[in-house]
Symmetry: C2
Subunit: 236 residues, 2 copies
DNA sequence: TCAAACCCAAAAGTACTACTTATTCAAGAA
DNA sequence: TTCTTGAATAAGTAGTACTTTTGGGTTTGA
């Protein structure tokens, strides 16, 4: 997509809104934006259009571009998620996403057990095995890689596009919690065992067991992050 | 937002893509769009920009606007959801959304139990009561209204914006399954009782119980729609 | 003959100007 | 005071001109 003024301006402005630097109710004028970013009217207009479709702003004639209340934002937009994750609200965003994970992934495991292709079932078991190995070897970085691949595959294999779309989010959360150290990460034996359990259950087509095992994983993660957030208020 | 050429063109084009009338890989040219919709360059360009941010298309110089693979779409965009719900893929979309519900709502109930304001707890119990009454009176339409309000309130009270955003989706599913008759809807006594159970548990701050009760509700809904879809393939 | 460099045309991207429409705010009349 | 009217304003729409990228065909050289 090359050197894109559009993307550039969108990133700056979107991030400013996503992180509350431009509070809800704040009013911008498109010509003011042109000047501020040295962009043409075309670019400014299209950026505003995009922000509008993301629910971040509304435009009203004779008034200007108004920053919307967070309640109206499209919180699943990958861009918005990234802005929040890269900004001051990182800790809160991670908690929000982790909570979503805790709801979605057990269901995804269930449907994966019911609908995964034979290849996916095999791959999942293989990844489970890899996780065991790398955990034993205390190789944290490759463990993380396999962990991400595991959850990604599972969400995709669920056959539900709305689950599948969350794979990038889950990857972000998994990577974020280790890199950011928000959650002291040392592959815990029980967690690894549960991953294997999920893989085996999915392979066997045992939906209930897959769901239950996955719930074990995400509940643990959920409780850990809750503890981390409450002890380390606000994060950052 | 008034009479909006933009919105108009976006709706037609977006719906066409969402329902597969324009298959992935199909190439459009922006000047061709201008002509086809009798819109100005400005409008055509901004529509394409929006479709691009929704992940429905990508634009490449010297090639044109390419319809993306569904895997890259932002499936949580309210617009896309509506297009799918209003189009030929309605049955599939309802199933997809119901599955999402089945994952999210139990978690939402849990967090509502932990974080709801006193007012919300009270309101939830009141709605539970109303559900009992209208179910007894076999007043299906007001029952549906209260049902929607119940789930909406619960998702909002969870304090997680990503859960809260799904309230419109849930409303759509609840309304859709009765209106569309995809799921023979007669308020079932167990379901009503479970709603009350959720309300009581949330009120009492009993997260586990709230989650469990809500799981009972959505699992039932999930199984029913699965049965309906498998017996009535494709829906339509 | 084949491949790598090169050039051209096509289509999106960017910029700018002119005009239209809706809406707020205020002045003035009932 | 309240309603009507009108002017000012800012977004919406339209259209033209120019820039940049890039896919594909063509030439050139080994």
């Amino acid at each position: 997509m090359g050197s894109d003024r559009h993307e550039e301006v969108l990133d700056v402005l979107g991030a400013a809104i996503a992180n509350g630097e431009l509070a809800p109710g704040a009013v911008l004028r498109s010509d003011e934006l042109q000047e501020r970013f040295g962009a043409s009217r075309t670019v400014a207009r299209e950026v505003v259009r995009v922000l509008e479709t993301m629910g971040l702003t509304t435009s009203r004639r004779r008034v200007g571009v108004i920053v919307s209340d967070p309640a109206g934002w499209n919180h699943y937009d990958p861009r918005l998620i990234r802005w929040q994750l890269d900004g001051s609200g990182r800790a809160v965003a991670l908690r929000t996403l982790t909570e979503l994970r805790s709801g979605v992934e057990p269901s995804a495991a269930r449907f994966a057990a019911l609908r995964a292709t034979p290849e996916d079932r095999g791959r999942l078991r293989a990844l489970g095995h890899r996780l065991e190995e790398t955990a034993r070897a205390r190789d944290l970085t490759t463990f993380l890689g396999h962990d991400i691949a595991f959850h990604d595959l599972l969400l995709t294999a669920s056959g539900n596009p709305m689950f599948a779309q969350l794979s990038t989010v889950v990857a972000e959360v998994l990577a974020g919690r280790t890199s950011h150290g928000l959650m002291p990460e040392e592959p815990q034996p029980e967690a690894v065992a549960l991953h294997v359990e999920v893989a085996v259950a999915v392979d066997a087509g045992d939906a209930d067991r897959a769901e239950r095992a996955m719930r074990g994983i995400v509940d643990q993660a959920r409780d850990e992050i809750a503890a981390a957030v409450s002890s380390n208020l606000g994060g950052q």
